[in-house]
Amino acid sequence: MSANHEDRHQSPASLDRALRLGIGGPVGSGKTALVAALCRTLGPVLRLGVVTNDIYTTEDADFLRRAGVLDPERIVAVQTGCCPHTAIRDDIAANIDAVETLEERFGPLDLVIVESGGDNLTATFSRGLADQQIFVLDVSGGDKVPRKGGPGVTTADLLVVNKTDLAKHVGADLTVMSRDAAAVRDGKPVLFTSIREVPEVYAVAEWVHGVVESWAHARAHHPHGPAVPSTNA
């Protein structure tokens, strides 16, 4: 094996790059809305890139480009051939390629957000693709969803329960959702949002900013170290 300068390709855990944040969750829960909100709130303070995994067309990428929250060139769409979960978990090659293309073109970046194409409750990001991941649910799926668990709900670094503005209309009890989520998540954070009513998503943005800072801190102190920062502090 030769040592050469492209060897960052060889090591997914290398810190010599932006933090990669996966945003997953069922179709329609508000992932794209959250990406737009994060770009709006964090765009002024962080160097960002976004990868979308549209199921068909480039709908999400187009929405984000139109929203004007980020330089359209910094938004890249990946097509997943009917397999959105494969592209974020089993065969992440196209997403890695998109992330690295963004970093080569616009780097150095602080944060690259990868939005999944939307799937069921079992879909999570490979650790080879995302350093941290947010799982987005919405209250209209019913207040039983957190109790049912599934890898997304139980293992994501942050669980976001969106569309709290709809809770009263669908008869969802947020206290129940909060209690059940806490029970299956072993202390990992849960945040409730209404992106419709509070488009700045302050609390989520603060969490993201925190993990990016730990990442940058780790990068500064162990430029070649394999350590992944802990965010549960």
């Binding site: 492209e6 060889q10 089993d90 196209a94 390629d97």
Partner: protein, 233 residues
């Protein structure tokens, strides 16, 4: 090396293959593939044209640097010039810009994964020689060699890949019975072996097969211009 060949040909190889239909998505859209019979015709045509060309290029890539010089068996690391020349042969045999793009994208993804799975100076040299990504058959042949396969194996894996990608895509797009489709593939097995043998018959690169498939070129071009698509190609 049979086990390495299986790994290389496996659709689970994380190299982005699941996002490519090899023209099948567009063929389905225009009604050229509707069921197992016309799928079989499509695959036979693809195998006899671009499949054979790709397999021969892969065999040549696998043989690059093998036994260079008159002293017989002396092993020479392929230089950038050799890789660029062979990549140019692939370019010359790929008329449609859409197909060129899809081929280079798949080649880049395979090379990135291949370098981590089978680290080797030859793959590093290929990545340096063609930074935008080599054509897919070149990457496949080079990865085959790094995995310990012979040129015939590389050709067989490439031919197999040329028909299994579109076949799987047709299963997903049309909801075909997967057992029917696998019977079609089994029926093509003797053709796969013939193509692999024919692929190793030529040693001078300029004499490698150059069969064109204008219908596949047109499908690829039209596919890129189609608004709703699930596959990259």
């Amino acid at each position: 090396m049979d086990a390495a060949l299986l790994l290389l040909a496996d659709s689970r190889l994380p190299a982005g293959g699941h996002g490519h239909s090899g023209g099948a998505e567009e063929a389905v859209r225009i009604g050229a593939i509707t069921g197992p019979e016309d799928l079989a015709r499509f695959l036979r045509g693809r195998l006899a044209t671009t499949g054979l060309v790709a397999a021969a290029l892969a065999a040549a890539a696998c043989a690059v640097g093998e036994a260079a010089g008159d002293d017989g068996g002396a092993y020479a690391e392929p230089g950038a010039g050799a890789w660029r020349a062979l990549d140019a042969e692939a370019d010359a045999r790929t008329a449609s810009p859409a197909q060129r793009g899809a081929s280079r994208t798949q080649g880049r993804l395979l090379l990135r994964s291949g370098r981590r799975i089978w680290p080797s100076p030859a793959l590093d040299a290929l990545a340096r020689a063609v930074p935008e990504g080599p054509h897919h058959p070149i990457a496949l042949g080079a990865a085959a060699r790094a995995a310990g396969c012979a040129p015939h194996d590389a050709a067989l894996a490439t031919a197999y890949n040329a028909i299994t990608g579109p076949a799987t895509a047709a299963v997903r797009l049309l909801g075909l019975d997967p057992v029917d489709v696998h019977r079609v593939l089994a029926g093509l097995a003797p053709d796969l072996e013939r193509v692999a043998r024919a692929s190793c018959a030529t040693t001078a690169w300029e004499d490698l097969p150059a069969h064109a498939a204008p219908a596949l070129d047109l499908l690829a071009e039209q596919h890129l211009r189609t608004e709703v698509r699930l596959f990259v190609s």
